[in-house]
Amino acid sequence: MSGPLLVVDGLTTEFPTRAGIVRAVREVSFHVEAGEILGLVGESGSGKSVTGFSILGLIDPPGRITGGSVRLAGRELVGLPARDLRAMRGREIAMVFQDPAATLNPVLRIGDQMALAIHAHETVGAAAARARVAEVLTLVGIPDAARRLDAYPHQFSGGMRQRVAIATALLNRPKLIICDEPTTALDVSVQAQILTEMRALARDTGTALIWISHDLATVSSLASRIIVMYAGRVIEEGPIRQVLSAPRHPYTRGLLDSLPAKAVAGKDLMQIPGAPPSMLALPPGCAFAPRCLRADAACDAEPTPTVAGDRRWRCHHPHAEPTS
């Protein structure tokens, strides 16, 4: 089969609230190739997690997908009946969440709850399921996995629990795993171990990853392409090295410049003025314009995406292309 594994086209997700309709994801389009790691970056409220949930059809009513399409290997997922979505989740696309303590059932043994994920999709014997569980746990770096199948989640550390969550996602050999800030709650030393393992896993198993994060440094050492979201829209996309070394959108540039690593110690950091807009009262035109130093009258109109090669951005006044 040719073509990308996942194509998201014009995806829009809305949540009605008492104060009005929140369009958390606005006409988001991107694709994921088989075996690729795609970084999805944005601040809280930018719509990055809702994008992940929308792909899996995990938007709880009254929220709903109001437009666009999500096609996995050519098959449309938006509008699928709940039964078909359930059959797809875990088997074709799996998800790893931020908080491993909330993902695992505290009263079930690790081996038993992971086996449930296998039995949900195919008929296998208990012994075979147990063997497969032990195998994946070993794959994610849990030592002596066969003996720890009977442990409960509370007997595992935070890092080990996140490994269990990742192992569960791998159980049915999905084509795509959506990871929503999977290392944010972990210490740096554990984060480094898990990043190393995820990279090896993606390479060895050919699983594609969407890595949702607010941390540019983490994404830069993992992903090959990056998508930057702001106020529900994709504002920049491209190969990660190109985007991070020469961002075209002023917001991406601002994010990079505000990192302490970019500044001289003790000197003021470059800062983006203001705060992200309320999703209930988005400014007309470009949502970033009120905080943007390059904004002018043209920015009152919504910018359309500009495409150049494999890069894409949404800005009336992008930063210049680097002269090479």
Binding site: L216, S220, S221, L244
Partner: protein, 337 residues
């Protein structure tokens, strides 16, 4: 160097759950009762000089917040004492209470640290009025002064916390602490819960306040990038003990303790060029449980240089070259010559 404002002398802080009635009876009959005492802070000594920003770094459970709370007079130490200007932070005999207003604290969560039913003005003025630092009639002007110092309009005083964003609330928490005119500010992960673009604004605010008010700060964080940016000196903690202490630039460029080096190596860096993705190197193994720390050097299970001595004998924090101190039998830099 300026004289020390804060002196921490041999401070330990233990937390032990009250034994249940069953355990107490079992204990009376000589049965084995599991020891569940956590040594959150284990014999720590350090000084903070006037006008200095000292960073306190470590992973979760290393005791950095507990140490900060001992210095801020929230937890009494189990052993040892913390002093500010030579006076103990905690007074009282049987029930120990904080007896100074010279130290104030800023917490991580700006949503939990402000009373939702108090107007901002009341939140900021409450402490100074209660302690007689200002009179009620002066409160409004005083509140406006501190709000403007943290970059908020004076009319913020009449609003409630829910009307502010996370970054603005952290500014309010800073104004509240400053209104007590402390000599030292203990900041416990003050930017950890903020978005990147807002984080930079708050860091810049700390830098500005420091310049204008000659603030002395203990800055607790797990974020090595933030610490490097604003601290003069850094203390690295591991399982309740300080393992390394020194000037920020020295520690980042030439760490002396193997844990410090491993920690620095495990942080992903922003990679903008090249195909080589490897920007970090993980530490092997897991953080041991603080309920049962390993004997000897706490880090020996994960340390590449550990030998028999490290497994049995806990290293003391000792002086190395360039005013550096490290608790390691086999430090990565030379001993004092």
């Amino acid at each position: 160097m300026s004289p020390a404002i804060v002196e921490v002398r041999n401070v330990s802080r233990r937390f032990a759950p009250t034994p249940s009635i069953g355990e107490r009876i079992a204990g009376l009959f000589g049965a084995y009762v599991e020891n569940r005492t956590v040594h959150a802070v284990d014999r720590v000594s350090l000084d903070i000089a006037s006008g200095e920003v000292l960073g306190l770094v470590g992973e979760s459970g290393c005791g950095k917040s507990t140490l900060g709370r001992v210095i801020a007079g929230i937890h009494p130490p189990s052993d040892g004492e913390a002093f500010i200007h030579g006076e103990p932070v905690m007074g009282g005999q049987r029930r120990r209470v904080k007896t100074t207003t010279r130290v104030q604290m800023i917490f991580q969560d700006p949503f939990g640290s402000l009373d939702p039913r108090f107007r901002i003005g009341a939140t900021i003025a409450e402490g100074p009025i209660a302690h007689g630092l200002i009179r009620r009639a002066e409160a409004r002007a005083e509140v406006a002064r501190w709000l403007s110092a943290v970059g908020l309009p004076a009319d913020a005083a009449d609003r409630f916390p829910h009307q502010f964003s996370g970054g603005q609330r952290q500014r309010i928490a800073i104004a509240r602490a400053l209104a007590m005119q402390p000599d030292i500010l203990v900041c416990d992960e003050p930017v950890a819960s903020l978005d990147v673009s807002i984080q930079a604004q708050i860091i810049n605010l700390f830098l500005k306040l420091r310049r204008e008010l000659n603030l002395t700060m203990l800055f607790i964080s797990h974020d090595l990038g933030v610490i490097r940016h604003i601290c003069d000196r850094v203390a690295i903690m591991y399982l309740g003990r300080i393992v390394e202490l020194g000037r920020t630039e020295d520690i980042y460029t030439r760490p002396a303790h193997h844990y410090t080096r491993a920690l620095l190596d495990s942080v992903p860096k922003l990679v903008t060029t090249g195909d080589d993705l490897v920007s970090f190197r993980p530490i092997s193994g897991e953080l041991p449980s603080p309920l049962a720390p390993p004997p000897g050097c706490h880090f020996h299970l994960r340390c590449p240089a550990a030998d028999a001595r490290c497994r049995s004998e806990a290293p003391d924090l000792r002086d190395l070259a360039d005013g550096r101190r490290a608790a390691c039998h086999h430090p990565l830099i030379d001993d004092r010559t």
